[in-house]
Amino acid sequence: MNTLLLTSGLTKCFEPPEKVVDRVTFSVNRHEIFSLLGPSGCGKTTTLRMIAGFERPDEGDVILNNRKLTGGKTFVEPENRGIGFVFQDYALFPHLPVIRNVMFGLKNVPRKHREERALEILCMMGLREFRDRSPFELSGGQQQRVALARAIAPMPELILLDEPFSNLDAVLRQSTRDEIRTLLINAGMSALLVTHDQEEALSFADRIAVMNEGRIEQIGTPEEVYYRPRTRFVAQFLGTTNLIAAEAIGATALTEFGRVNLDRPATGRVTLSIRPEHLTIEKPEKHHSNYLGEIISKDFKGHDITYRVRIKARECLVHTGNRVNFHAGDRVHVRPLETAVVLEESNVPITGTKVAV
């Protein structure tokens, strides 16, 4: 098999009975970049630290390369796991210059080759001229790259990254992210990234696990989790969505704006998720008279427009291109462009079309 890392049933309580991590199971393939995505406090960092061996899980196994690292009576100390870790605050050794920081992990390389090897990595990262600087004298982005260089240098098969881009400003974040993704792919390593930034997870990872309150709610490619969220939490956490209570009959359901197609057959009360960009608005025609809406506000953002439309005392958001031009107060018809996604766990009553921003 192609699996590099496997965690199964990882569970951790700091203050019983509240489980910070609750039966977390997922796998990371070789050469894959995998992301744990979730709001702060959802247990993603604890999961990462259990994989690294900094925390002991109460239950569950961690298996790397078919070797059990944690589970039952087995517990491999962090230093014997061969897993790289990049910390949120980088944790560069302040008393060592950049080159010595990178050399730090090269203890299995013969002494005379260490510097050479560290320099190679620094060059690859474009940090060559900083080799003798102290970590204090580097910018946030440079520190970030040194931290990664230090983790990569011993060539571990897996690198864990804990919110590594959150300390960078927006401009730097995008470029650093791209660079590092390329570096990881070129080095043939697998990476497990923890983040609360959905955009980061979507653009950085090959696959994403969305975590909430200690549990994984969905695992999939960025497209899968975005287009076909399994639960209401996933739908709301990944971007903006319209949550709609509807009556489903087989492949379609009846909603405020008429009959919509469903992504899978269902019956009875369901909660649907439709992304604002999967809706459009049109001039009403005669047969629409039952489903007329009114534009409440218009938010022009250049290449697209966000409309807030009220239909039968409920509101929904619609993203359109800038050619679709209406004004506040216009009476319009809202038309879905894609199938609506049926969410699980619809036993919770929905009071209105909830808009998550």
Partner: protein
């Protein structure tokens, strides 16, 4: 593990103190406990402690206000002058007072005026107050500087005059600082041996010494030590009670403003006179007395003795400093990295060793070694261990704050790069702690150099240190012989204060 060992080594000797005290049959014990003399000692001790506190407050509060809130020129130098008396240990102060007054004192020799010799209560009070008021001063100063000036402005806008504001708004906020400083002074007076013995004022500490050294009545000495310990713990409990719930943080956000400076106008002159008198008494008097006696009767033959005492002090203090900082590392480490009730408790024990009056502590160590390890009795090693345990609290502070600078992530990073637990600590955390370790070793070294009562009881027979020599020469009114030792002690304790001050200065 090492942390628990430290805890045990502080607690077990104290247990022996109990054992020794209860060795006496119950009838004798009752007699010893309910002696009238004990009441006398209690009265003397409390009288001295409270008077010192009062005197210290009367000196420190105006001094702190002048140096933080007034526009008096030269505030930085004045601040230094307010701290410098810390460099003159109580027994050196007592030496100076004794050498200054009296029929053969400096004043009589130079001007022919026969000042009555200070002794007893007034002598002890003067010597200890002049030495200890900086503890209160430092606390008052930082509290005054940290007060939120808006509170005062609000009170003014609500119609209160500045003087009323000071008493109704400023003073109440100084309470936590005052209690903390007062506790230090109180504990110091309880533990002081040098000044009270030279001034011949009988407090518990002095009585313990007399019992032990003069009449060899160890059971009564143990009882006295226990009473002193009870007094100490009462002080600690009272302090804890008073401080509970007293947290005066700034409430609400807003820019931090600097305290308002109040122009003194003509009040400048009384302020200067106050400071001048204080400096004359607390710094100039001891320094000039020591120098006078040095010049008056300098004898090159003394140098050999001085060298011997210096090396005696250093040979005990240097290993003690190393030992204390080494012990401080695991204690601070568990306290910072694994905070819990247990680890906090273990850390507290280190402070217990510090708060225990030195004579009681030394006495308990004597009983312990005589019973458990007689080979150690009267050895240099025992003295070193005693210093280290007693001054451990001084070592923990700097080690702990340096540990806070080393993020636990650093050690984790080292472990993820393949280093074991211990190695990760030494490679990643230790280098960052190094400065803190040096500072704490320096603190302990300089404290031990001037330590008197522990040395007195625990040093091997005939072992000479600077402090012991100052004390014994002064006790026999041989002021000229004592002078060079006092001067060297001043040198070391000035370094100590300099270090304290440098830390305080850089941390703001």
């Amino acid at each position: 593990m090492p942390a628990i060992l430290v805890g045990i080594s502080v607690l077990v000797p104290l247990l022996y103190l109990l054992l020794r005290a209860f060795e006496a049959d119950s009838e004798l014990s009752m007699e010893l406990v309910f002696r009238y003399r004990n009441l006398e000692l209690l009265y003397n001790t409390l009288l001295l402690a409270l008077s010192t506190l009062l005197a210290g407050t009367l000196i420190a509060l105006p001094m702190a206000w002048i140096t933080t809130r007034s526009d008096i020129p030269g505030r930085k130098i004045l601040t230094l002058l307010g701290v410098l008396p810390l460099a003159i240990p109580g027994y050196v102060m007592a030496y100076a007072l004794l050498g200054f007054t009296g029929a053969n004192g400096t004043v009589a020799m130079l001007f022919g005026i026969d000042l009555p010799r200070l002794s007893g209560f007034s002598g002890a009070l003067t010597a200890i107050s002049l030495y200890t008021f900086p503890y209160l001063y430092l606390n008052f100063r930082s509290a005054l500087a940290g007060l939120d000036p808006s509170l005062e402005e609000v009170s003014r806008s609500l119609g209160y005059r500045p003087r009323v504001v000071f008493f109704r708004v400023v003073l109440p906020q100084l309470r936590p600082a005052y209690y903390a400083g007062a506790l230090i002074i109180f504990l110091y007076v309880l533990g002081d041996f040098g000044a009270v013995s030279l001034m011949r004022f009988e407090t518990f500490s002095y009585a313990i010494y007399l019992q032990y050294a003069a009449s060899y009545d160890r059971v009564y000495a143990a009882w006295l030590a226990l009473m002193l310990l009870t007094l100490t713990s009462t002080a600690l409990v009272v302090e804890y009670r008073l401080l509970r719930g007293l947290f005066f943080h700034r409430i609400g956000s807003g820019n931090e403003k600097r305290a308002n400076i109040i122009p003194l106008g003509h009040w400048k002159w009384p302020a200067y006179i106050f400071v001048t008198i204080l400096v004359l008494l607390s710094i100039f008097l001891p320094l000039s007395t020591i120098l006078y006696w040095m010049i008056e009767a300098f004898d090159a033959g003394q140098l050999a003795g001085l060298r011997q005492a210096l090396s005696g002090s250093a040979m005990a203090s240097a290993p003690a400093a190393l030992l204390a900082s080494a012990l401080a590392v695991p204690l601070a480490y568990i306290g910072v990295r694994h905070p819990s009730r247990l680890t906090r408790g273990i850390e507290r024990i280190a402070y217990l060793g510090y708060a225990t009056p030195p004579l009681a502590f030394a006495l308990s160590l004597i009983f312990f070694t005589l019973n458990a390890a007689p080979i150690l009795y009267q050895t240099l090693s025992l003295l070193i261990v005693a210093y280290a345990l007693h001054f451990l609290a001084e070592a923990i502070g700097p080690v702990r704050s340096s540990l806070y600078q080393a993020s636990p992530r650093l050690e984790e990073a080292a472990r993820s790069l393949g280093y074991g637990r211990l190695k990760a600590f030494f490679l990643a955390t230790f280098p960052i702690m190094r400065n803190g370790l040096i500072v704490s070793a320096a603190f302990v070294f300089m404290s031990a150099m001037k330590e008197l009562p522990i040395t007195f009881l625990l040093a091997p027979v005939g072992y000479e240190t600077l402090a012991v020599n100052v004390w014994s020469y002064t006790a026999e009114a041989m002021f000229a012989q004592a002078a060079p030792y006092a001067l060297v002690i001043l040198l070391f304790s000035t370094l100590f204060v300099g270090l304290l001050f440098a830390k305080e200065w850089t941390s703001r």
